[in-house]
């Protein structure tokens, strides 16, 4: 059995601000980490790997620095690493990202199971998993809470729907996105670190994909375009009080009373 886990490198901080004069983004440093939700996807694959001796590959698309999170995955378990990196992928929206990843998965070979985290902490769209499944013409289930059973042909999972829990059987090849807490992610092992120093990873670019028309990738392949970015609007009617805690509590009490909350 083969599993591919899609992981993403995200900013280590969400403290991004806009310089009002220049319109530039200000980031505190360039710290980056593995998307926290992807840790659950990777752990799910490793758990399945232990049960079924499945072969696990982690795949990430992004700038060359994404090798850092592939290395992090190496420290968590026995996995192969694949990177898709190319300047022509720059500025990709969800659709162009999903398309590139689906092309890369076909390059590696369609596995039995693809696992994604439920969303990223930077884009927060939760769209890429379902779009990859559509491009690969395979079934998908999002928000999987639990894997109940599995065999060579498919698995039984429990998924979160609005107000409902749905138990379903899904046939391989398939894609699932997993919820936080499906399994507790293991910590990276530093005894593995020595053993794995210099473990190679495969690096692909657009040229290696079956469809290498650059108009299908990056900004060119993105139907959505960011017209402008701006700081959020703020309500100017706000009032800010300072003073001793006792005074503030008293004033707040009166304000709540005035508005009939107490």
């Amino acid at each position: 059995m083969n599993i591919i886990v899609c992981i993403k490198q995200v900013p280590g901080t969400s403290d991004v601000k806009i310089d009002e004069k220049t319109g530039s983004l200000i980031r505190d440093g360039m710290d980056a980490k593995m998307n926290p939700y992807d840790l659950y996807a990777l752990e799910t694959a490793l758990q399945i790997g232990q049960e079924t001796e499945a072969h696990v590959t982690v795949l990430s698309m992004g700038p060359p620095q994404v090798k850092e999170i592939i290395q992090e995955a190496f420290l968590m378990g026995d996995v192969d690493g694949v990177i898709l990196t190319d300047r022509r992928l720059a500025g990709a929206d969800c659709l162009a990202t999903s398309y590139a990843i689906s092309q890369c998965i076909q390059k590696i070979g369609l596995p039995d199971l693809i696992i994604c985290g439920k969303q990223t902490t930077d884009g927060d769209t939760a769209q890429v998993g379902a779009e990859i499944a559509e491009f690969l013409h395979i079934p998908h289930i999002t928000n999987v809470l639990k894997i109940e059973e599995m065999n060579a042909n498919g698995m039984i999972v429990e998924a979160d729907l609005p107000g409902m829990l749905q138990r379903s059987e899904i046939r391989f090849p398939a894609l699932i996105t997993v919820e936080k807490d499906i399994y507790q992610p293991r910590l990276p092992s530093f005894t593995r670190k020595k053993r794995l120093a210099g473990q190679p990873m495969q690096v692909f670019s657009v040229q290696d994909l079956a469809d290498h028309d650059e108009n299908h990738y990056g900004l060119n392949g993105s139907p959505t375009q960011v017209m402008r970015i701006f700081p959020p609007e703020t309500d100017t009617t706000s009032e800010v009080w300072e003073g001793s805690s006792q005074d503030l509590a008293e004033k707040l009490f009166c304000a709540l009373q005035e508005r009939k909350f107490i």
Binding site: T22, D124, L165
Partner: protein
């Protein structure tokens, strides 16, 4: 078709231009500047770099015929025919947008034994309701539901499709958008319509305190998802209007690799989405035990507790109590935030709160810009003092209730 090219000769100090890019995508190696795959095409280098050094080269694209796409469609979110209220909110917004360009509003209702339930949609001012009512569609599965949406879109060619940002909507919309290779913008907080039918979509972006204005300029239909309680539902019409049209899809096209074995209601938990009073807490809380302080205040005000993402990630608070873009959207009458700085991720989930009180010890915290009433101070001092006030002030309902019980016992 666009790319950024660098005119090396116009750059005097190559080392200095590296910091023009907030994503670190400009590289300087062996005396040559280049742009790496970290580029997000934000074009800030063109704007803020040395004059003429970075050039955006755009090839004219073949324009699609936007007039061939008419109408704004709303996907009807439901459980066994019970329509989710986000649907009415989207219909209200769709009517507003459609009025600007004189387009019709459609509702697409996919399920089994639901045709009779479609009647309710006629009370919200939809021009036409398209119903796919087949046994294969009894419960939500992404592929067959996507097949029904694809059939509808191919037949009606709507210009815009709005979908509720629920777990179902966020599983369905991307599948359909990818099928048509078109744009989908998740979790929009504002929508507007251009005369040329381009949808203006505004959503928080880049994982921080930034809003992005997004358009799908040359693809149709244009998809957007919107969370529950972002827009308001229009009043229910006394006189129903709009016609219901039942569609039929060849069961061959409704095949799926997923077989649903069982479906059950989730155990009912207190739901912060419907709470009238919420006390929310963030990273200003020092340890898990201190949640008791927040609980006491919430209880005293007859409300519920909620939190920001870091406390959920720390495992201190149930994930269903998270307010924000990756959590829930709330619309309480009173929201008190304690030790919350107020990132856009968080404030996106509290936009509908009537009265927001913020307690934070950092006077620069962004939360003070969005709160109606800000208290600069230590939550560990203000809340106990407030609780004391509450104790000695007018009796709460609980105490009132206890009094009655007591007097009954005594009496």
């Amino acid at each position: 078709m666009a790319s950024i090219i660098i005119h090396q000769e116009k750059i005097k100090n190559p080392g200095d231009v590296l910091k023009v890019c907030p994503f670190g995508a400009i590289q300087y190696e062996n005396g040559v500047l280049s742009i790496s795959a970290a580029c997000k095409m934000c074009k800030l280098c063109v704007k803020n770099g040395p004059v003429g050094a970075f050039e955006l080269v755009e090839q004219p694209l073949v324009q699609i015929d936007k007039d061939a796409w008419r109408g704004i469609a709303v996907y009807v979110e439901h459980t066994h025919g019970e329509i989710h209220p986000v649907t009415f909110e989207l219909i209200g917004k769709a009517r507003e947008l459609a009025a600007k360009i004189a387009h019709p509003v459609y509702a697409v209702f996919v399920g089994y034994q639901i045709t009779s339930k479609a009647e309710e949609l006629r009370h919200y001012g939809v021009d036409r309701i398209y119903v796919y009512d087949q046994p294969e569609l009894e419960v939500f599965r992404a592929e067959p539901y996507a097949a029904a949406m694809e059939d509808f879109i191919t037949a009606l060619r709507p210009s815009t499709v709005l979908v509720g940002g629920t777990t179902v909507g966020r599983s369905l919309a991307p599948r359909v958008a990818a099928h048509f290779r078109t744009g989908l913008t998740a979790d929009c907080t504002k929508l507007d319509m251009q005369p040329n039918t381009d949808l203006d979509q505004i959503r928080p972006a880049f994982g921080g305190n930034i809003m992005a204005h997004i358009r799908t300029r040359n693809h149709r239909p244009q998809f957007a998802t919107v969370r529950y309680k972002i827009f308001s539902a229009p009043p229910r019409l006394q006189q129903p209007r709009g016609e219901i049209q039942v569609m039929y899809l060849d069961p061959e096209r409704l095949r799926s690799g997923v077989r649903v074995l069982s479906i059950e209601s989730k155990p009912v938990v207190e739901n912060i989405e419907n709470a009238e009073v919420i006390v929310a807490v963030g990273r200003g809380l020092r340890k898990e035990q201190d949640l008791e302080l927040i609980r006491a205040l919430a209880e005293r005000l007859g409300g519920q507790i909620a939190s920001t993402r870091p406390l959920i990630e720390a495992g201190w608070v149930d994930p269903r109590r998270q307010i924000g873009l990756s959590g829930r959207t709330v619309s309480p009458k009173l929201l008190i935030t304690c030790g919350i700085s107020g990132s856009v991720q968080f404030t996106a989930g509290m936009g509908a709160a009537n009265f927001v009180v913020a307690i934070n010890n950092d006077p620069q915290a962004h939360i003070f810009k969005v709160a109606h009433l800000g208290l600069v101070g230590d939550l560990y001092e203000i809340i106990p003092a407030l609780l004391q006030q509450l104790g000695s002030g007018q009796p709460s309902q609980v105490q009132e209730h206890l009094k009655t019980v007591k007097s009954e016992v005594i009496g």
